[in-house]
């Protein structure tokens, strides 16, 4: 299959179909509506089902129902709608149901606007709903990477029985790029003996629930969830580094902002500034390793975000006081320009860093 030119939101949808997702429950919200419309057209072609729910809340609970039968299922939304899904996501975690939830982030808080943002970083990486939990979060920076990570998202969901979040900003959802869809060589078939599909032939009732009234019992369950999160931290960290080997300054950015930052880095390199990039691809688990490996020699890290400064807190934790951590961000749906990122890095470089 050759390359096709598609919109980001549609790429997510088609990649999900390639990953074997046949069920989608969604609700329209800008800037991810193309994803919903694509699924409405596409899923019947593969013998699947698209259903427009009456609300984001209903959609995530339909996902819960479908996931409890063991099929690959997905929903998508954008920030305000994603907030509405939080209770349902917490239930998915508690009941250990696999599902993929896409958040094409827009400006907030409140109704905010429909311009690109990354200001749901805290919400996706620190739990988001009630209770002790984390969810794997994958943040592609290009449309081709969406193809890869959407498939990864479904595999991770099944492997660990967990919801997985695919997070992009409005720009990623709306931009067009050529992409190629590749089916995985061998689609991982997971046995799901826990799925509630009826008891015929399997001996006894199965129960999907997140309720545990006994405190000791719930604590035990929570520690077992924590062990699962530890395994995910061990195995599912994804990141990319760019020109960090000789760097004195390291920029940190994810998603489309990483691409703009990379251009600023190229320009600075031409002017002799030794600067590199760490691009977290999994936002949770956050990639600590590239920071641990560089923090003894790096003069400063700069987190660049489309928010008022959220990921910068994880950067500080990973750097752990070994180097100063600076921040540059635009918020409210404003996309930072290459020029202003360049100026920021030059101002940091000028502060005692050799140019």
């Amino acid at each position: 299959m050759g390359k096709v030119l598609m919109k980001g939101n549609e790429v997510i949808a088609e990649a999900a179909v390639h990953a074997g997702c046949k069920y989608f429950f969604g609700y329209p919200i800008t800037p991810q509506s193309e994803l919903v419309a694509y699924m409405a057209r596409r899923l019947p072609e593969v013998g699947g089902l698209f259903l427009q729910a009456e609300s984001e809340i209903a959609a995530i609970n339909m996902v819960y129902g479908a996931a409890s039968t063991g099929v690959r299922v997905m929903t998508s939304s954008s920030s305000p709608g994603f907030s509405l899904k939080q209770e349902g996501i917490s239930y998915l975690v508690g009941a250990e149901l696999p599902a993929v939830i896409c958040n094409i982030v827009r400006g907030g808080p409140g109704l905010g606007n429909i311009q690109p943002a990354q200001s749901d970083y805290f919400q996706v990486t620190k739990g988001g709903g009630h209770g002790d939990y984390n969810i794997p979060v994958l943040a592609p920076a290009s449309l081709q990477e969406i193809v890869e990570l959407t498939q990864d998202a479904f595999d991770i969901a099944d492997r660990y029985r967990t919801p997985v979040i695919l997070m992009g900003d409005g720009m990623l959802g709306q931009m067009m790029e050529p992409v190629e869809f590749m089916d995985r060589l061998e689609q991982q078939k997971m046995e799901k003996p826990w799925a509630t599909t009826g008891t015929r032939g399997d001996g006894g009732p199965k129960i999907v629930t997140s309720l545990e009234l006994d405190a000791e019992g719930l604590e035990k369950r929570n520690w077992s969830l924590q062990q699962k999160f530890a395994r995910i931290k061990q195995n599912e960290v994804r990141y990319e580094t760019y020109q960090t080997d000789d760097a004195e300054i390291v920029m940190v950015a994810f998603g489309t902002v990483a691409r703009i930052t990379m251009n600023a880095i190229n320009r600075a390199r031409q002017n002799g500034v030794k600067v590199g990039l760490i691009r977290p691809i999994s936002l949770w688990p956050f990639p600590e390793k590239p920071f641990i490996e560089t923090r003894e020699r790096i003069k400063a890290y700069i987190s660049v975000e489309m928010s008022a400064g959220q990921m910068v807190e994880d950067v500080r934790l990973a750097v752990n006081g070994h180097a100063p951590v600076d921040f540059f961000g635009r918020t409210g749906g404003v996309v930072p320009t290459q020029e202003e990122i360049y100026e920021k890095l030059i101002s940091v470089a000028g502060g005692g860093v050799s140019v």
Partner: protein
């Protein structure tokens, strides 16, 4: 002397003792649902959806696959299950706080879509699990923890008549309100539950049985008085009968 079995527990329920208060009719209603599933021989092909409230632990009592839903969302969860498994029987078991208050949107839209599921709606005019607060179905004048002077229509509005409302929707195929206050009505309730599951079996669309039920603990009445209260106070506000039988299921 040969012994003959004249009565036994339904295989539709597990052996787990229920946690319900003395005089609460949840246990009776569980049994009716269990008997219908057993008699229709569909236990192995059924997935039940438990809701939030006193009946949250119903997933431990029904002897079939069970999924526990968030508060009010059981019809959405059931939709997800049924759309993936159209050949299985899917039912929700919900109280009036769950269905008529926080979950009113989900049940209306499930009915409007004509989801081929069965909703068992237990209406006892109060929140039981949380300690006796006003429900949307609480009667005018009824005292609860949050209407200590009695429900006043000018302040808290009037009771929602769910069966009447749902019956107006085209997707609703079978809607009946029954009661659990005496043997005769309990038998009628069982027939209604059977008809609801038969409606689903025939693929006719959304079915719901609203069952008037007791809450002696939070009503502050003894079990016998509670049954009288259902008959004397609830039935006049919530008239019994079939509100919708689109395809004439007998």
């Amino acid at each position: 002397m040969t012994m003959k079995t004249v009565f036994k527990k339904t295989s539709g329920l597990t052996d787990k003792p229920t946690h319900y208060c003395p005089g609460c009719t949840h246990g009776v209603i569980h049994r009716l649902v269990g008997e219908v599933l057993e008699e229709m021989d569909i236990l192995e092909d059924t997935i039940g959806v438990a809701s939030v409230g006193c009946s949250v632990l119903s997933y431990e009592y029904f002897n079939c696959d069970m999924t526990q839903a968030a508060h009010g969302r059981a019809p959405a969860v059931a939709t997800g299950v049924k759309r993936v498994l159209p050949n299985r029987f899917v039912f929700t078991y919900q109280g009036d706080g769950d269905l008529a208050s926080i979950g009113i949107s989900e049940v209306i839209h499930a009915a409007a879509r004509g989801e081929n599921i069965t909703v068992i709606f237990v209406n006892n005019a109060i929140y039981g699990m949380t300690g006796g607060q006003m429900a949307p179905t609480t009667l005018i004048g009824q005292k609860t923890a949050t209407t200590p002077f009695g429900r006043d229509a000018s302040i808290q509005g009037s009771p929602i008549k769910v069966s009447e409302m749902i019956a107006t929707l085209d997707g609703a195929a079978y809607i009946e309100r029954v009661s659990s206050h005496d043997v005769q009505h309990i038998q009628k309730a069982k027939r209604a539950i059977r008809k609801a599951f038969e409606t689903q079996q025939k693929g006719l669309g959304f079915s719901m049985v609203e069952i008037l039920s007791t809450c002696p603990t939070n009503w502050g009445l003894d079990p016998a008085e509670s049954l009288e209260w259902v008959k004397d106070s609830m039935v006049p506000v919530y008239p019994l009968g079939i509100y919708k039988n689109k395809e004439g299921v007998k």
